[in-house]
C-alpha cells in the first residue's frame, strides 16, 4: 500500500514541517506537545468539546486530506493503545464526586472509538470506521486492517494512531514500578494509504506483521526479511523501540543488527525522538517517510516495535525507487 500523505502532531516540530527528521533531537524531560492552531482545522462547535487526543487526531487527519487533495477517504481506521484518557479521567472523577446526574460529554467521549468517530463527524464521512486497540501493536493492527480493506477495493484510507498523556500515567507508572527512562508523551500520526501509486505517493508500506507473546524475536525478524526477499544488509535504516533498561548495545535491535550495522545512524531508537506512548510506531512511520523523501539512498526502512517486550511489530517501508 502506498503512503499518499502523512501528518504528525507530537512533542517534536513535526506538523506541516517537511524535513523535520533532519532537525529533531532526542526529547528531554521538559518537552511539551507542540500544538497547531486547531481552529484552522476544526469547527469551533466541535472543537470546544474535544480533548487533546481528539484535537490532535482530527487536525492531523484533516491535514492528510489536504495534502492528498482528497475530500472523502474510503475508510477511517485508527489505532490507540490507551484511548481517550482525559475524558475517561474527567468522567470517573465526576462519577466519584457527584451524586445524581452525570455530565454526558466526558462519558460519551471516553471510549476509544471516539477518535475515529470525531474524524468522521468533522468531515461528514459515512464509510467504514474502525478502531484497533491492541496495546503497543494498535497501529500495526490498523495497518493490517487497512491492507485487507484495500484488497477489498476501498481506496484512499485515513489510517493513523494516537495516544495522549495525562499526569495520572506518571503516578500509575510509579505505583507499578514501571517508571521508564523515556519521557511519557502524547502523539498522533495519520496517513492516507492507497492501493496504487499516484503522483502524491511518497513511499510504500511493503509489509506489516505482528506477533504476540513473542518467544524468538530473531527468528521472527529472519522470517519477515526472508518473506520480503531481503538480506539484513539491504535494510538501510532500522527504527526500533524497546522498553529495555539495559544499555543500547543489549537491545534487541542492536543484538540482531550489530554485525551488519557499524554506523550508529543506521539504528535509531525512535522512542527517544517521539517520547513514550503505546502507538509511537506511527511516529516512526512518518519519520521513515520523511527520511526517505530526503535521502534517495534509503530504499528499505524497517520499523521494529518492541516497546512491549511480549509484543513484536515489524513494518517495512520502501522508497518508491526501490
Amino acid at each position: 500500500m502506498y503512503i499518499n500523505a502523512a501528518s504528525t502532531i507530537s512533542h517534536q516540530p513535526t506538523f506541516r514541517n517537511a524535513g523535520f527528521s533532519e532537525l529533531i533531537e532526542p526529547l528531554d524531560n521538559s518537552s511539551e506537545l507542540i500544538s497547531p492552531n486547531y481552529k484552522e482545522y476544526i469547527d469551533a462547535g466541535l472543537l470546544r468539546r474535544m480533548s487533546k487526543i481528539l484535537r490532535m487526531s482530527v487536525a492531523a487527519a484533516k491535514d492528510c486530506l489536504t495534502q492528498a487533495e482528497t475530500a472523502q477517504p474510503g475508510a477511517i481506521i485508527v489505532g490507540t493503545g490507551l484511548g481517550c484518557l482525559q475524558d475517561t479521567e474527567k468522567f470517573l472523577n465526576t462519577f466519584l464526586s457527584i451524586e445524581g446526574l452525570l455530565p454526558p460529554t466526558s462519558f460519551i467521549q471516553s471510549t476509544h472509538n471516539t477518535i475515529a468517530g470525531q474524524i468522521s463527524l468533522s468531515i461528514g464521512n459515512h464509510g467504514y470506521n474502525m478502531t484497533h486497540t491492541q496495546n503497543t501493536l494498535s497501529f500495526e493492527h490498523a495497518l493490517i486492517d487497512t491492507s485487507l480493506l484495500l484488497g477489498e477495493g476501498k481506496d484512499n484510507i485515513i489510517t493513523g494512531a494516537a495516544d495522549e498523556f495525562i499526569a495520572f500515567l506518571d503516578e500509575a507508572a510509579e505505583h507499578l514500578n514501571a517508571s521508564s527512562k523515556h519521557h511519557l508523551t502524547s502523539g498522533a500520526s495519520f496517513f492516507i494509504l492507497g492501493k496504487n501509486k499516484t503522483e502524491k505517493s511518497v513511499a510504500r508500506v511493503k509489509d506489516v506483521r505482528t506477533a504476540g507473546l513473542i518467544q524468538d524475536i530473531d527468528a521472527a525478524i529472519d522470517s519477515f526479511l526472508l518473506d520480503n526477499f531481503l538480506n539484513i544488509s539491504e535494510v538501510d535504516l532500522v527504527l526500533y523501540s524497546d522498553f529495555s533498561e539495559k544499555e543500547k548495545m543489549d537491545s534487541v535491535a542492536h543484538q540482531y543488527f550489530n554485525e551488519h550495522y557499524h554506523a550508529d545512524s543506521k539504528l535509531i531508537n525512535y522512542t527517544k525522538l517521539s517520547g513514550l506512548y503505546p502507538t509511537n510506531s506511527a511516529f516512526a512511520m512518518h519519520y521513515a517517510v520523511d527520511r526517505i523523501q530526503r535521502e534517495p539512498k534509503l530504499k528499505n526502512v524497517l520499523i521494529l516495535n518492541g516497546l512491549n517486550k511480549i509484543n513484536l511489530g515489524l513494518t517495512l517501508i520502501e522508497s518508491l525507487e526501490a
Binding site: 469551533a44 462547535g45 470546544r48 445524581g100 446526574l101 455530565p103 454526558p104
Partner: protein, 85 residues
C-alpha cells in the same frame, strides 16, 4: 434576578466549554439552540439538564417542560426561580 442570569451565563460558558464567549456576549433573550443565537446542540441540552440539578437543585424530568425552559437565559432564569426550593 439579574445576578441569577449572570451566574447562569457563567455556568453555561464553563460547563459547555464555550471558550470563545464572554458573559457579555450572551444576550438574555438570545435563542440558546439557534445558530443565530448561542448555537447549542442536543448534547448541550443534556449538559444543561445536569447543570440545573448540580447548581440549582432542580430536576428537569419532563422533556416538554425543558424545551420551553431552555429557550433563552430569560426562560431558564424564570424556570429556576419558579422551581427551586
Amino acid at each position: 434576578m439579574e445576578s441569577l442570569k449572570e451566574d447562569l451565563k457563567k455556568q453555561i460558558i464553563e460547563q459547555l466549554n464555550l471558550e470563545d464567549l464572554q458573559v457579555s456576549d450572551i444576550d438574555d433573550d438570545s435563542l440558546l439552540f439557534s445558530a443565530d443565537g448561542v448555537g447549542l446542540d442536543s448534547i448541550d441540552a443534556l449538559e444543561l439538564i445536569v447543570l440545573m440539578e448540580k447548581f440549582y437543585g432542580i430536576q428537569v424530568t419532563n422533556p416538554e417542560e425543558g424545551k420551553d425552559a431552555f429557550l433563552t437565559i430569560n426562560t431558564m432564569a424564570d424556570y429556576i426561580e419558579k422551581n427551586r426550593n
